[in-house]
């Protein structure tokens, strides 16, 4: 069992490194940029996959930390010019905000549904406030917040210390994949550590963990802050990809998407959220792509009114009803059954 796990780890690392190193050589610029956004969304999905899948905290407002990271990076990069400090701030500030919010909720011992409402309300507050900053009086330093239109012309990442050595698309791709890989491996390590075991114990039975002497509130707050930090990083990377940050990052639609990624990919795994994000984002992009748009408009013209809501909605309902465990655990389950079956045949056992 342990060797299997180690083999998986090595495989993941090698596959990740190979993907990171080979891709920029093998594909054109568009594919590279397109892959970059998938990697960034995968990081975002991991942040919720961690706190929901392992900590049992369903956060309806993961987009709040994503948006906060994006805006922190945008505001500080425009003000400072050099990108190292803004990147660190874009991780630290959402983490601090998540810690504060976590403290507020977990130390109040709120139940699931109430946490849902609070995270939802906090996201809406941030969205409404940032959306109402279009006037020219809303300025932080020299960075204008610009309301609904979002902040544009944000300086991209540069090599630490040298503001003129900015990252080109392949550089950004390396950084994003490296972040994803490090976060994935880091989280695997974390979940295997003492902290991780306590977190899972809390998810399984909060009262029992409490009675064993663990301060559940503290553990949950730390985990929540960690989720916030990862989402914040994803936000900062998104700004680098698109060159802008807009209030849509804070929106409920964005939060909904993250939840859908995680549930489709598989709750309680780390690979699941990544798979879910890639799968769902691919489908939504496909809906808007020239091939599908022209295909649908040829079919009785119905396609003109088809939007991604319908697709996402059907997927979500079907998954909750039919595949509540998600794609990755489902496949793992099938694989194990297959292995047991074939193993049984080989050894000639009969039941």
């Amino acid at each position: 069992m342990i060797t299997t796990r180690r083999a998986q780890l090595i495989l993941a690392t090698v596959a990740g490194l190979a993907f990171m190193l080979i891709t920029p050589l093998a594909v054109d610029l568009f594919t590279l940029l397109n892959l970059t956004i998938y990697v960034i969304l995968a990081i975002l999905a991991l942040s919720l996959g961690l706190i929901w899948g392992y900590g049992g905290i369903l956060c309806f407002g993961q987009a709040a930390f994503y948006g906060l990271g994006a805006y922190t990076y945008a505001v500080s990069a425009i003000n400072i010019g050099e990108s190292t400090a803004p990147l660190l701030l874009a991780i630290a500030l959402p983490a601090a905000f998540a810690a504060l919010l976590g403290w507020f909720m977990f130390y109040g011992r709120l139940s699931d549904v109430y946490m849902g409402v609070i995270t939802l309300a906090v996201t809406l507050i941030l969205f409404k406030l940032i959306n109402a900053t279009a006037g020219d009086q809303y300025v932080i330093g020299i960075a204008r917040l610009n309301g609904f239109n979002g902040m544009h012309g944000v300086p991209p990442l540069n090599i630490p210390g040298n503001a003129s050595a900015i990252l080109l698309p392949d550089g950004l791709f390396y950084v994003c994949v490296a972040c994803l890989l490090l976060i994935y491996l880091g989280l695997r390590w974390l979940l295997a550590s003492h902290f991780g075991r306590v977190i899972i114990a809390i998810r399984e039975n909060e009262q029992r963990a409490e009675l064993l002497g663990y301060d559940v509130r503290w553990y949950k707050t730390v985990l929540f802050a960690l989720g916030g930090a990862i989402a914040g990083l994803a936000g900062a990377l998104f700004v680098n990809w698109g060159g802008y940050a807009d209030p849509g990052l804070f929106s409920l639609f964005q939060s909904a998407q993250i939840i859908i990624w995680v549930i489709v990919g598989g709750l309680g795994t780390l690979l699941g959220p990544i798979v879910g994000a890639v799968l769902i984002h691919y489908l939504t992009s496909l809906i808007g792509s020239p091939e599908l748009v022209s295909l649908l408009s040829n079919l009785l013209g119905i396609g003109r009114n088809l939007d991604s809501n319908l697709l996402l909605g059907v997927i979500l309902v079907l998954f909750v009803l039919l595949v509540p465990r998600g794609v990755v655990p489902g496949v793992q389950h099938l694989w194990q059954r297959y292995r047991i079956k074939s193993g049984a045949e080989k050894s000639g056992d009969n039941y």
């Binding site: 549904v113 309300a121 809406l124 507050i125 939840i259 009114n305 088809l306 319908l310 996402l312």
Partner: protein, 288 residues
């Protein structure tokens, strides 16, 4: 003087609006512990039912007060049979499934009606209060909200159905043993909640117009009002709507609509933190 009356009317209207958009959700949550995130879309469907049937030549009052609740009640019945009944007791799964349903409904309605529909005019003329003119239709909305609330209270408190429903919700096994079919009660309750929501949507439609995505503007507010109200359906919704409506409208009048909504949300966050079982979890216990 007329300014005071005017402001008072605005505040009562804001409260009535919250009651209206929340009551159907409160019935379903309070009795079944199901949070229906497609609630906003049920309001939207009520609006479409009213507008489409009015444009087809039906009397506007019939369209709003009869067709809208019937249509959405029917939708609720179908949804309960197809989705909700498999998920009782799994509160998070229900939320996710109904969220998916909400996206589906937006997509479906867009497919059928597109993103624009001509509205209908409000059937009540404006009202003069001193030097101010107010939307006369607002008074009708206030009246509908009051009637819905009182009717619901009476239904739960004084009728056999109310007694049975409450019994089934409190202890399904026991009422099953006493010859009540809980599955049937759940089905009827969900349908009833949906019909109430359809009525609200139909009545609001002339004032707001209708687009497929309009549910999104309601769901967060309704969700927050219901949860903050707590378990008691009528009292909880009314007390939460009172507090939030007051906070929202006064802030709006003093500053802007955005800060009004933000004030409402902040009030909700603080309220839930310090009364984690909602208002009626702490006060008015045992009411309906």
């Amino acid at each position: 003087m007329d300014l005071a009356v005017f402001i008072l009317l605005e505040i009562i209207y804001a409260i009535a609006g919250l009651v209206l958009i929340s009551l159907g959700l409160a019935v379903v949550f309070g009795m079944m512990r199901v949070i229906n995130l497609a609630h906003g879309e049920f309001l939207m469907l009520g609006g479409y039912a009213a507008i489409v049937s009015t444009q087809a030549g039906l009397n506007i009052w019939l369209a709003m007060l009869i067709v809208a609740p019937l249509t959405v009640g029917l939708v609720g019945l179908i949804v309960e049979r197809l989705i909700i009944r498999f998920l009782y007791g799994r509160i998070l799964d229900t939320m996710l499934a109904t969220w998916g349903l909400s996206l589906c409904l937006v997509g479906l309605v867009t497919l059928i009606f597109g993103n624009t529909t001509t509205g209908i005019s409000t059937p009540i003329p404006a009202l003069q209060i001193g030097q101010f003119q107010v939307v006369g239709y607002n008074l009708f909305i206030i009246a509908v909200a009051a009637v819905m609330l009182a009717g619901l209270y009476a239904l739960l408190r004084f009728t056999d159905w109310g007694l049975i429903a409450r019994a089934a919700m409190q202890n399904a096994d026991m009422s099953d043993a006493l010859g009540i079919n809980p599955s049937r009660v759940y089905m009827l309750t969900f349908t009833f909640g949906a019909a109430l929501t359809g009525l609200a949507g139909g009545v609001l439609a002339p004032l707001t117009g209708i687009v497929p995505s309009i549910g999104a503007t309601y769901i967060a507010k309704a969700f927050i009002t219901v949860i903050s109200g707590g378990v008691a359906i009528a009292t909880g919704t009314l007390s939460a709507a009172l507090s939030f409506g007051l906070v929202e409208r006064i802030t709006t009048l003093l500053s802007s609509p955005v800060l009004g909504e933000v004030a409402l949300l902040i009030a909700a966050v603080l309220l839930l933190r310090f009364l984690p079982r909602g208002i009626t979890g702490r006060f008015f216990r045992g009411r309906l």
